[in-house]
């Protein structure tokens, strides 16, 4: 399951706050569906991923640092141009 957060045009800390909210909801959902399971996945076994779109480097750095600090794996794509970063956060339980 992929959750998408569009934080383009928003200044910090809003992209981080939005990411935090979705991350907490995702983890709550995972706990409800699979109690005791450590690997983040939905009922079908697909990993839970949060995809965050931001349009400035500061937001990209802050969101990715927050996600790593929260124990998630993070990959960053520079999108189609230098004005958009796509941050993929793989949620761990």
């Amino acid at each position: 399951m992929t959750h998408r957060v569009d934080a383009r045009g928003l200044s910090c800390p809003q992209p981080v706050v939005m990411t935090k909210r979705v991350l907490e909801k995702t983890r709550l959902g995972m706990k409800a569906k699979a109690p005791g399971e450590h690997e983040a996945s939905d009922a079908s076994g697909t990993p839970e991923v949060i995809e965050i779109l931001v349009d400035n480097r500061t937001a990209m750095e802050n969101v990715s640092r927050f996600a790593r600090y929260s124990g998630c794996d993070v990959t960053i794509d520079n999108g189609d141009d230098n004005d958009c970063y796509v941050i993929r956060v793989c949620v761990k339980g």
Partner: protein, 360 residues
């Protein structure tokens, strides 16, 4: 270089330059103070007539141009804006009102503490409570709305105005004001102040150094990253003050400070709340303005106009203490900011502001 090291180096250099600027002429515990310097610039331009605080401080144009050059070099210079510019002006206006009742921006608050001024402890407590209140709104979805790309002219106005201010301070035409006594008359040589300002602007741009952000992120997401810069400023300036004999511990007789704990607390609470809603402290607003952010420019202009009002209306404090008008203005600032916070939460709950989606 990793981000943690960059923010630590930036904090250490800002702390060192602050003490160096004091040693070369700036007022005590005021090596760098965004609020005081913007107030002096407002006075230098004749926007207020408080004769002791008038001087076109070269440091501020230095912050803006330094940030612009660093952003250009890193490919981060972007003209953007349109995120509640009027509210940002209002927040900038009231942030500097609070700072001038306290007598210092968040950066000077740390420098005062590092100089042994215990009155700043009340400021730190108030600032933290103000940021905590801002986090209350942020957690509930507070937003000033999205910014978008703009034409390049929007990004160039403030750097060009900054360059013009530098020409004015060097040319010193008759229509520019300069204090003969008081804090405005105490200043480092122009070239040195400009170089220090450029360095601080560039380093703050690269490190995203933000005094409000340091405490905000600790409360909001338990992330000490930006707070490291905050701590580095304090530690380095404290050590240099101790070595150079500038450290003087106590409440009484501190330079450009008053001893009213309640209003030191309340005024910095207003600064903290306003900075949290704006997304950054006064220094960060200057840096954003230099990067091409027209919203940062609006906050800067709000601070410039607010500084003029603070002196024209007898709001700014002096060493004698806060004024009656200053106390009223602080309360008004807190109320206005709370209303902006509340309405910003309400706006975020409208469907057109929700852009999170769940895809299978």
């Amino acid at each position: 270089m990793n981000q943690r090291r960059v923010v630590l180096i930036a904090g250490a250099v800002v702390g060192a330059l602050s003490v160096a600027l004091t040693a070369t002429g700036n007022p005590a515990n005021m090596g760098i103070c965004i609020a005081c310097f913007i107030r002096d610039i407002a006075g230098g331009l004749g926007l207020h007539r408080a004769e002791v605080v008038q001087y076109l401080r070269p440091e501020v144009p230095g912050f803006i141009i330094g940030s612009m050059l660093a952003a250009l070099a890193a490919g981060e210079f972007r003209a953007r804006g349109g995120s509640s510019p009027v509210l940002r002006f209002v927040l900038g206006f009231f942030v500097i009102i609070g700072a001038l009742v306290f007598l210092g921006c968040p950066l000077r608050m740390i420098l005062r503490l590092a100089g042994g001024d215990l009155n700043a402890v009340f400021g730190v407590l108030g600032f933290t409570v103000g940021i905590w209140a801002g986090v209350f709104f942020l957690r509930r979805g507070f937003t000033l709305g999205r910014s978008s790309r703009m034409s390049i002219g929007n990004a160039m106005v403030l750097p060009i105005v900054s360059a013009f201010l530098l020409i004015l301070v060097i040319a010193a035409p008759a229509f520019i004001f300069a204090s003969a006594k008081g804090p405005g008359s105490a200043h480092a040589p122009v070239l040195w102040a400009l170089v220090a300002g450029l360095a601080v602007g560039a380093l703050a741009q690269r490190s995203r150094l933000c005094l409000a952000g340091g405490i905000r992120d600790l409360i909001l997401i338990r992330d000490p990253h930006l707070f490291n810069g905050f701590a580095a400023i304090f530690v380095v300036s404290l050590i240099l003050n101790l070595i150079s004999g500038r450290f003087k511990l106590g409440f009484e007789g501190q330079p450009v400070a008053h001893t009213d704990g309640l209003w030191n607390f309340a005024s910095m609470a207003a600064v903290g709340l306003g900075a949290a809603l704006l997304g950054g402290c006064p220094l960060r607003q200057c840096i954003l303005a230099g990067e091409g952010d027209a919203d940062g420019v609006m906050a800067f202009l709000g601070m410039l106009v607010g500084a003029a009002f603070a002196h024209n209306w007898g709001i700014a404090s002096s060493a004698a203490g806060p004024t009656a008008n200053g106390k009223i203005a602080t309360i008004v600032a807190l109320v206005v900011m709370a209303i902006i916070g509340y309405t910003g939460v309400a706006v975020s709950r409208r469907p057109d502001h929700q852009r999170t989606a769940r895809e299978a």
